[in-house]
């Protein structure tokens, strides 16, 4: 971790950047689970791959 007082182009501290990223990754994982469920339903209820 670089020192917390360093100023970056976006003006965020490293802690803030990592916090945003953690939430973005969690949201992406939720999107992934929903997409996997949608593909499962499409596989079951549609002629896709049959």
């Amino acid at each position: 971790m670089s020192n917390a007082t360093e100023v970056w182009p976006t003006g965020l501290t490293e802690g803030q950047a990592l916090e945003i990223h953690r939430n973005l990754i969690q949201g992406t994982q939720m999107f992934g689970v929903i997409a996997a469920l949608a593909h499962l339903l499409a596989y079951i209820y549609s002629p896709w791959l049959h």
């Binding site: 970056w8 976006t10 950047a17 945003i20 990223h21 549609s46 896709w48 049959h50």
Partner: protein, 70 residues
């Protein structure tokens, strides 16, 4: 990992909408490709997907290779 440090150089108010927009465009493209390259999506949207499934299976059966008569 280092990826979280992206937001030190890319403004989240720019990066996140860009990311979500790219996912939306990609998803729209896949759905459009499915709609234009398959028949069953159109049938589903017209409310006759069940017959589309049956019909796809029957066409597969009718196209089966002829068995060798010995």
């Amino acid at each position: 990992m280092i990826y979280g440090r992206l937001w030190l150089v890319v403004k989240p108010t720019v990066g996140i909408p860009l990311l979500l927009g790219a996912v939306a465009v990609g998803s729209f493209a896949v759905h459009t490709a499915l709609l234009t390259n398959t028949s069953w999506v159109k049938k589903f949207l017209n409310g006759s997907a069940a017959s589309a499934v049956v019909q796809t299976q029957s066409t597969v059966a009718s196209v089966a290779p002829p068995t060798l008569q010995v």
